[in-house]
Symmetry: C2
């Protein structure tokens, strides 16, 4: 079997993580990188991999088996996803939960038109967390799902702080409240408010002239992002931010707590938890596994948009069904 040729669209944190993940999978290879920047300004880590302008991507249709779209959900993917799905098998990590049905419909129509497979919203949430919510709910239909995120850096919340006047840079950690996690793990199925589940801790570099009290108040009162949480703000120097907060660790838990028995007298707790040294490196490792699945499905004649719910676990593996049954069942 020839290797699966992967093209990366967008060479930021996620694109770079995807390149690293491809290097760890002997059955895939990085065919090319597509960028909106001047291609001559970029050099792939992997020797000999060409970097092309995204404007010329259609010229390379025959050189890649699947594209991994590493752009953002706010503005990149809503445009790129449907456009590219018409011409390539694609994988993306579209994560605006509320807009998934609309995005799915557009990508599905494009993929069907082009005869391709597109797996959308791949990653850990949406993604592996979703799969675990689904498995847990199907196995224990009478119960509750709980999702906790962190401790980890939320890039969306960090960006929101950076947009405040007087802020030079910022890093925001989402932290699950230990007491709430323990209550859920006990099987007591507690009702928890937003504030009871997570706290937010912010490390902010402010301009020397800035009014720190004003910045702190602006953060803590920001609707949606911070107002519903207990938020702590620390002002630190740019050096401290670089030294202590340059990584992108993350993680979290999905817990399904359910009851069985004639009188619902038996408790069960199913927990899936992640402790990630690097959010983009883990996410891109998932993207590469699903890229393999997309190519296998496409070779079988499947078309259209899919999600992680539609992909049997065996499709993620380079091994045969026989090997998996013998070694891993």
């Amino acid at each position: 079997m020839s290797k699966i040729r992967i093209g990366i669209v967008g060479y930021g944190n996620l694109g770079k993580g995807t390149e690293l993940a491809i290097r760890q999978t002997p059955d895939t290879e990085l065919a090319s990188i597509f960028t909106r920047r001047d291609p001559s300004s970029l050099e792939a880590l992997t020797e000999g991999v060409p970097v092309y302008s995204i404007n010329n991507i259609l010229e390379h249709k025959d050189d890649v088996d699947v594209l991994i779209l590493c752009g953002g959900s706010a503005t990149d993917l809503p445009v790129q996803g449907p456009e590219l799905a018409e011409n390539f098998n694609t994988i993306d990590s579209f994560d605006t939960h509320a807009k998934i049905p609309e995005y799915f419909a557009k990508v599905d129509a494009a993929a069907k038109k082009g005869g391709n497979v597109s797996i959308i919203s791949v990653g850990w949430d949406p993604g592996m967390f979703s799969v675990n919510r689904l498995y847990g709910t199907c196995i224990l239909p009478e119960g509750e799902n709980y999702t906790f995120w962190g401790k980890g850096v939320s890039q969306g919340h960090s960006d929101a702080i950076r947009r405040i006047d007087g802020v030079v840079d910022a890093r925001q950690y989402t932290i699950p409240v230990e007491k709430a996690v323990e209550a859920v793990r006990s099987g007591s199925n507690p009702q928890l408010t937003t504030r009871q589940k997570h706290t937010r801790e912010c490390f902010v570099v402010a301009k020397e002239s800035a009014d720190k009290a004003k910045i702190e108040a602006e953060i803590k009162n920001m609707p949606d992002y911070f107002a519903d949480y207990d938020t702590t703000v620390h002002f630190i120097s740019e050096e401290e931010l670089q030294r202590d907060h340059s990584g992108l660790p993350h993680g979290g838990f999905v817990i399904r707590s359910g009851k069985t028995g004639i009188n619902k007298e038996t408790s069960h707790v199913v927990e899936y938890s992640l402790k990630l040294g690097s959010n983009p490196e883990f996410t891109s490792s998932i993207l590469v596994a699903y890229a393999r699945a997309a190519v296998k499905l496409s070779r079988e004649g499947a078309i259209g948009a899919k999600t992680v719910f539609d992909i049997a676990p065996a499709y993620l593996s380079p091994k045969s069904a026989e090997e998996l049954r013998a070694e891993m069942l």
Copy 2:
């Protein structure tokens, strides 16, 4: 849509758990129970459900959409699995890991001959633990899988003790060694011996006349079952056994610990853990979810034997793909 009609084959702990699980799923119904015992000696918990002799099972081919085989892997399933797969869609929890390839081949041939779908080795190990080993391995190809079982009752080990001369009854708990679990969770990828991973604790009711020291030595030196473990033996009364050890709790963890990054400098730990109030009630809840999947696949025209690796998560759910994307992704 009419309800999925499920037949239960074998009405022991697992069969009774399956009946309870069906009661919690509005889209399924218990059609009938098949037993090797005298059918008039059994009464289903669910009013109006007929109990038939397994000898007459073929007369009821048109009354059930799928059979859940609740017999044991040692002697029941190797015979029943292939026989019934030729005439019904089936689900079983065949758990003799080493014999899975051989069993799969026989069930596959029978299911294909009869045009049915059979999902074998469903439960939590093999089953959900296998799925998590597979997902973890595909996402983090450079790493280690660790499986810990317990704290919980091992019925195989309890049975092994009961076969010792002078033993009236026994209950054996498998207990993961906390220090080993913590070492794995830290991401240090330790090499662990059998003895370092689990201990075994036995509660034994002996005949009054029995030589307890001899029984204890016989347990601790039993090859495969106990000799490779640190084993503790407690002699208790029959009343104590009934009072303190009548439940069948179980659980365990699958941990995938892997590295990413240009020099494998980034650690990730993925953990799936179960805390089960009742092993048979949880296992049978999984069986019912996969019974739904088997019927959906069969209605789509699929045939042959499958495992949990071959079943996309969405097939386990009574909800539509649209609902799942909107509510659970």
